[in-house]
């Protein structure tokens, strides 16, 4: 029986996106089931215009060069790989309503659901992480 990893992404920015996607990708490599619940600013990561929305925190712009040097794939590519590996991307309905967002603002692979859907997945998780 494989492991299950439940992740909550509640912050935006390139840094958070990488923290979340790195752990998610490594987990899928061990055949773990991975579900990520995106809420508040974390929703930026799975928007269909994520590349425009995601930036480095102010004062941390120099990370960009380091990421390039270390050959880290762009966030969009990481998300694409995650989707191919079966990672569930769950957008929080409540925060979407607060922000005036609809399903059309997100990548096609995103499922929209509430806290209960995530909890249902997380109750059986071996690890739960919050970013």
């Amino acid at each position: 029986m494989g492991k299950r990893v439940a992740i909550i992404a509640s912050h935006g920015g390139v840094e958070t996106a990488y923290k979340v996607m790195n752990i998610a990708m490594a987990a899928t490599a061990t055949d773990a089931q991975v579900g990520i619940f995106f809420t508040f600013d974390g929703l930026d990561i799975i928007r269909n215009n994520a590349s425009e929305l995601l930036s480095f925190a102010s004062g941390k712009e120099h990370y960009a060069e380091g990421f390039k040097k270390a050959n880290v794939p762009p966030v969009e590519q990481m998300i694409q790989m995650a989707v191919e590996s079966g990672v569930r991307l769950i957008a929080c309905q409540m925060t979407m309503d607060v922000m005036g967002l609809t399903k059309q603002d997100f990548l096609d692979e995103v499922e929209v659901a509430g806290a209960m859907t995530f909890l249902d997945f997380a109750y059986d998780a071996d690890i739960t992480l919050t970013f």
Binding site: N22, M25, A26, T28, A29, T30, D31, A70, N71, V72, P73, M81, S85
Partner: protein, 196 residues
Amino acid sequence: MKAYVLEQVDKRVDCRGLSCPMPIVKTKRAIDEIQPGQVLEVSATDPGSVADVKSWAQRTGHQFLGTIEEAGLFKHYIRRADLSDVKEMKKHPHTVSHKHLLQKLSEKPLILDVREPMEYSFGHIPGAKSIALGKIRDWIAELKEPSHAEIYVVCQTGNRSDMACQILHEHGFSRVFNVIEGMQNWQGPIEKNVAL
């Protein structure tokens, strides 16, 4: 002793220049494309891959053979395990523990290591003879008549050595023992012979 030149690699994956988690992600994809028993070579420059590939293999149940480093290039070798291979069958009744074999080592007993040469070269019991399971009948034929000396047979997990023991027994070898705990749990002395 001959150093195996690692020619018996079935698939190679190039992760040079890639950072975490890409070497692991690519390793996982590559291992899914080979058959159980085949060997994957992962080339990487990320020093973090040394610990990561090893722990990935342990976690997923595949057999981590070892890493060779040369001028900042790491080559990791992994043998794909057959994770569904749990069939029950008749077992050779005579087994020995590692503890018992360790006590016997000073007497220089005949130890047959029936794993593949690549596995053997990444670490075996000093003095053990490398006869892959598939070659055991040839070895028996060469001997011309069965030996009644004690023979200790070892592999990675105790399964292939069990089959080898049964084959030896069928051919009239009378004192054959399966080193049941296998090399995966061996804490005694180890000899290696690998080179690029």
